[in-house]
């Protein structure tokens, strides 16, 4: 029964029996694992605040080849997100990050890029507080979809293959882009009319330009700084739709996040 210590982010916990927790955590070196933390809900547990969602910890655990669940021994807190709770929306955003990660990450497959994505977004949230919520969740959603391999071309029509526009220099003749539930990419206005895509939404040229910038710029250095809830809301809706159709379930935190 080898003892391991992994740098990890706690994704979520489920109560088990009277005082135990089942913990889903994303390790840097082994990917997403699940384990049992005995007596974790008792006041003097060896886990302290370390098992709250998205705590950044060094987790000590025992792993048996034959068992799906590892046994958690203890954890050492590197960074806690506890202080972000004082902002309600930031708290919901953390739950959203945890839920999306839990849904998208496969078991026991390390992903250094996803791990770094989470750390970068958490750091941005911490630095910017409630102000940072919208760029953080938008950036995270875009990259989470991209790292999962599902991000379609944002400037090509899925229907006819035409170029939607050059997002870098939107002009008057720029094609409009639309998306709808269960559809893997964007379509142009022409294809939308011919396929009768009535229940579709537009992804604005502005949001597509933001997405293009996010794919090459760290979250803390985006050119736009005056984000509010309406900024790139269409992009988030598109990305949440992509995530939901791939994991084949609704994200419970997404509507709470977008609640006015």
């Amino acid at each position: 029964m080898p003892a391991r210590v992994s740098e990890a982010l706690v994704l979520r916990t489920y109560p088990l029996k009277e005082a135990d927790l089942v913990v889903s955590f994303f390790t840097r070196d082994q990917g997403k694992l699940r384990g049992v933390a005995k007596r974790a809900r008792r006041p003097k547990s060896p886990f302290g605040a370390g098992l709250e969602r998205l705590s950044h910890v060094r987790m000590a655990y025992f792993q048996r080849e034959t068992r799906e669940l590892v046994n958690l021994d203890s954890c050492e807190l590197i960074h806690s997100q506890f202080e972000l709770v004082s902002d309600y929306r930031a708290g919901v955003a953390l739950d959203y990050l945890a839920e999306v990660s839990e849904q998208l990450l496969p078991s026991a497959e390390p992903s250094e890029r996803f791990f770094r994505l989470l750390l970068a977004v958490l750091e941005h949230l911490k630095a910017a507080g409630g102000q940072g919520v919208w760029p953080a969740v938008t950036y995270f959603s875009l990259w989470a979809v991209r790292l999962s391999g599902w991000l379609p071309e944002l400037n090509v029509c899925l229907g006819c293959g035409c170029l939607l526009d050059d997002v870098e220099t939107p002009d008057q003749k720029a094609q409009r882009a639309f998306f709808s539930r269960g559809q893997a990419g964007l379509i142009c206005g022409h294809c939308r009319r011919t396929t009768g895509g009535a229940s579709s939404w537009e992804l604005s040229a502005e949001s597509r330009a933001l997405a293009a910038e996010m794919l090459r710029t760290p979250v803390g250095r985006l050119s736009r700084t005056d984000w509010d809830q309406s900024t790139a809301a269409d992009l988030r809706r598109f990305l949440v739709g992509q995530i939901e159709s791939h994991v084949e379930r609704k994200l419970v935190t997404a509507p709470l996040l977008e609640e006015k």
Partner: protein, 199 residues
């Protein structure tokens, strides 16, 4: 697991589903009931059914109650000006064991947890706002659990209730009595520092 006669196996299985009861304890209880008289078994089964049939929630504070108002809301010796907010009815049990609190309660029946799909609408907050609106309450003590959900709930409630003109306080969080400072993590210690008091 040994082979028991079907009704006995069924009883053991039912007990095993209860919190804190494993195979051994379930067997002990089942055999105890097997040996006991029919009357004892009837008392037990009736008590279980009564809990389900005769208990409801207090119309004022949502505590478990067998009448319209619970024992605390009925008690004229409890101070109606102070209300302690807990997540679940069993939170009241913990506070009552101190025998130091003489105010009343309000049970939310949960805590904010977007991950579990629980938003403000899912909690019993409206009744609390109405109680404050009637003007009798002066202080609200928020005793939600010392974890992310409980803290998020406390922050949300404080924002909502303070403008209504009541004093809002939060129970202290920090180092458990009997433990060693050396083993506490940064969150626990910083919460303990936040909640320090003058001596």
């Amino acid at each position: 697991m040994p082979d028991f006669a079907e009704p006995l196996a069924r009883l053991i299985n039912e007990f095993k589903r209860l919190p804190g009861i494993g195979q051994k304890s379930a067997q002990r209880i089942a055999f105890h009931l097997l040996r006991a008289g029919r009357e004892e078994a009837e008392h037990l089964s009736q008590a279980i059914l009564d809990v389900k049939d005769k208990l409801g929630f207090c119309a004022l504070c949502n505590n478990i109650s067998d009448s319209e108002l619970c024992q605390f809301c009925r008690d004229p010796n409890r101070d109606p000006k102070v209300v302690c907010v807990v997540e679940e009815p069993n939170g009241i049990v913990g506070i009552e064991t101190t025998r130091q609190y003489e105010g009343r309660y309000h049970v939310l029946h949960g805590a904010l947890s977007p991950l579990r799909g629980i938003g403000p609408e899912s909690l019993k907050i409206k009744g609390l706002v109405e109680r404050i609106g009637k003007g009798e309450i002066e202080e609200v003590i928020i005793a939600t659990n010392p974890n992310v959900e409980g803290e998020a709930t406390a922050v949300y409630l404080a924002r909502l209730l303070k403008p209504l003109g009541v004093k809002v306080s939060r129970i202290g969080m920090g180092i458990p009595v009997g433990s060693d400072l050396e083993f506490a993590d940064e969150v626990t210690i910083s919460k303990a520092m936040e909640g320090r008091r003058e001596m």
